[in-house]
Amino acid sequence: MRRSLRSGLGGLNLLGLGVVATTGGCAWDAPMTTVVPRSDFAREILHVYAIITWATVGIALVVGVTLAWVLIRFRDRPGAPPPVQTRGHTALEIAWTIAPALVLLVIAVPTIQVIFRTQAAPGPGALEITVLGRQWWWEFRYPTLDVVTANELHVPAGRPVALRLDGPDVIHSFWVPQLGGKRDVVPGRLNRLTFTAETPGEYRGQCAEFCGTSHANMGMRVIVDAPDAFERWVAAQRAAPGEPLGLAAEGKAIFARSACVGCHTIRGVSTGALGPDLTTFGSRRTLAAGMLPNTVEAVTAWLKNPPALKPGAKMPPLGLTDAQARAVATYLLSLR
């Protein structure tokens, strides 16, 4: 595995040579890199990726060097005799029909093996999660755990996760590159994606199918927890929200009498279904599908005018005063 990983990086290095030279270093380890796998699925993909990269870079070099050599060697020189009018060479042409076919065979075999391996039905121990892509945020439901959350998906390391992808509006695509390839979320069509995350950590993902105005702002985080940390997270999600105090209590009152309740669920307070479930809002790291840090300032600004921060956002400005918005923000962040 390590070898194929290294060879993959080596091949990509060649491809990215020009860029790398200008950026002054090899920076493959970005938050959404496709070449530093952290799940079995992503690793399987990189295995094929590396083989193909080597093959194609090799062919590109052969063609490029030949082309350059031919152009130098056969350049018109004064007094050069007219060339022989060669019309073709059957054996040569057969040879260079067969050669690419052989290279393709080398690519096709692992490709097909990996297709079937990565799309196999998940085993009985897999954690089922329903992913709903919505304009422009993600909803994650854990039917067996009775947990609903948004934009931040928690999964345990080392246990297979079976995603069922569905959506109520337009097509989206679930993509967390370090955990594997993307799969479209097609309304009316149940798609599946299975992977086993390897290393605890935070992985960034984003909608990869153009889905309207704020497609660029439809990010997500996948937080891979160690098994015991995952259990603690589930327990926290299921705990009944405590009664808020002070400013937060004021915020709860405003929330309960405003339009908020029409779209959002907070267990025990409201049952709206159009926007994200806010029952444990305060436990999330980001706001608005990964756009903003989940701080009082950001949440206050968001509550005052969501479309100003996120173009096209379906949540309208609520007409809250600064003080009211701050109170609601304090309340929401107290929900952990």
Binding site: I52, I59, V84, A101, G181, D184, F210, N217
Partner: protein
Amino acid sequence: MTITWLTTVDHKRIGILYGATAFVFFLLGGVEALLIRLQLAVPHNTLVSAQTYNALFTMHGTTMVFLAIMPLNAMFFNYMIPLLIGARDVAFPRLNALSYWIFLAGGIFLNASFLVGAPPDVGWFGYANLTSKQYAPGLAVDFWLLSLQILGVSSVIAAVNFIVTILNMRAPGMTLMRMPVFVWMTLVVQFLIVLAFPPITVGLIFLMFDRFLGTHFYDVAAGADLHLWQHLFWIFGHPEVYILILPAFGIVSEVLPTFARKPLFGAPVVIYSGVLIGFFGFGVWSHHMFAAGMGPVADAAFSVATMLIAIPTGVKIFNWLATLWGGVIRTTTALHFAVGLVGLFTIGGLSGVMHASPPVDLQQTDSYFVVAHLHYVLIGGSLFGLFAGAYYWWPKMTGRLLGEQLGRLHFWVLFAGFNLAFFPQHYLGALGMPRRVYTYPPDAGWSTGNLVSTVGAFGIGVGVLLFMLNAWRSLRSGAPAPADPWDGRTLEWRTSSPPPVHDFDTIPPVYGRDSFWREKYGRPGAGGGLRPHDRQPTPGAGAPVFHLPAPSHWPVVIALGMGLAAVGALTHLAVVLVGALLTVSGVFRLALEHHRTPTHEHQTGELGLDHRKVGMWVFLGSECFFFGTLIATYLAYKGKSVVGPEPHQILDIPVTTISTFDLLMSSLLMVLALAAVQRGDRRQARLWLFGTAFFGLIFLGFQVYEFIAFAQRGLTLQQNLFGSTFFVLTGLHGVHVTIGVLWLLSLWVLDLRGRLAVADAVKVEIAGLYWHFVDVVWIAIFTLIYLIP
């Protein structure tokens, strides 16, 4: 002077019109691209809004594909194909003008969306259901879909024209295998257009009905499957890639041999591989859908099919290398661009092989890796090919030489700018940057790559400006071009630069490939090596008078009518009616204006068939795909309706059996009518022509009755998927029958006036072909929709 350009039917002038218009659209698309790159130059940029950005990339893609590269290719088809096959014009000069004017109407209509502040913003691929009324209210999507329909009509008309031209108008001795490779690639492209446009036309018709009339083709709540649009779009969309690139392959296959002074290496193999690419091109569309969730079996099958295309493509590259090998290479600007294509397309082709593998594609698709790939194919391939063609054929088209030094500067600036703009995008894709995002965060690691890419994009812009400067200087004060400036190998260099209106004073005889080269230097091998021939290209002056097709103003009228109808669809029904009336009357006048011109009677060509008959067969091939798509959709949606009524509750087999029998009998009458016309029996001809039309009318009467009865029993267009698919399929068939009836009735009226002589039998024959086809389609519909439960 200007007015003659409005009515011209000269293929050379139409070629120039295509080129000039497409270049303007190309500049527009380029400005859109630069705005895109400026917005992405730095993270969290606020130069344009999300909405504007989405419109920019939609319009950039749609413009470059349909309004720039396709019509720039059409410029060379128009100008060069008749010259390359030794013909005096295309088979249908007025249809040629018609396709240009319809293209112009479509292009203007699409861009008019900017003026009313509703530019399309759903991507050039317009995935359903983002295009539905619910998610895209307003006019933007209507502009997009109507202009695509208009442009499709233009492309299909032109394609039929060029297939007939190439098959039927070759000079004596120009066998198929002696045709220059550019002509071959053009032929393949025209077949791709004829067969690939019907699926997207049908897909767009569905979208039109969904948006304007409330059908449910892309309505998930009614049971629709959103993969339908993706399949229809990519069955068109992938052949479209070859429609864009194969002409460039053809140009390179002309330019390399000329400047290496050697024949194209393995020409037959290059031709066969082009044909094979076109053929495979129809079997690989789903590789655009590996992430869509088709299942492992479909993924594997389409993956292998896609990889197979790499073989003929690779063969072409090797043959081009072998053409240069051992040559005496003159490094002109045209050669620079041709070689640039070989190198850059190799990179684009190989990155294509990478995402032919579904696992890899799952990481690359919809990321900047694919943006890099497609631009290596469409700029590195198509655009470099077009520039190679521009430098190669400019002297022939204008009679002036382009500056070689400025040309080389143009090449190097464009080459550097292009690689700087798009090579880093491979890297951005590998780092997970998704496509179609108007902004990105600063901590994603994408900032440097994007900035470099933006700088490169402006390099491309400078390159294009250098070309414009070169063109301007050449037109103003360029050195006059001789007839054969490059020591060319093919027939276009045998006539003056620019060619006379009638192209050739005498139709050149053709004795083999590279016919003109042989004429100049003798057969290769004979007499030992090369030997300049004293024969000079024939000058155009003092030539005898030739019959040339008369100019016509009806193409402009028809295009205007279509544009008006589209405007009406967005404003007022009355405008649609005026536009439709203008279109229909224009078509009638166009059809009848040369009914009595004697020189239009003999149109038998190389295949021994009349042009019009070949054209009709080609058109019917296109129609097969049209109805095939409609019927396939009906079958795919069968039993998917979420509410009743069901087919078995509605369809009335006894009644439809009678109307089917009626339509079958009309085919019999059609045969009698044609036989009567052919033997000059005027009385019988009139009787049977009218009889056929009358039986057609009876069929239409049955259809009207059927539609009303079904509606009364609760089945309407809007009721369910069954209603939507049934009425659109049978309704479009009914439209075909109506056109047939009108056609037959006009022939009947001509006959009544004594204007349908034996010599006009071919006119009845092509109407008959159409009529029989429409009947056969009905038999398929009757069997598959009515009889099979």
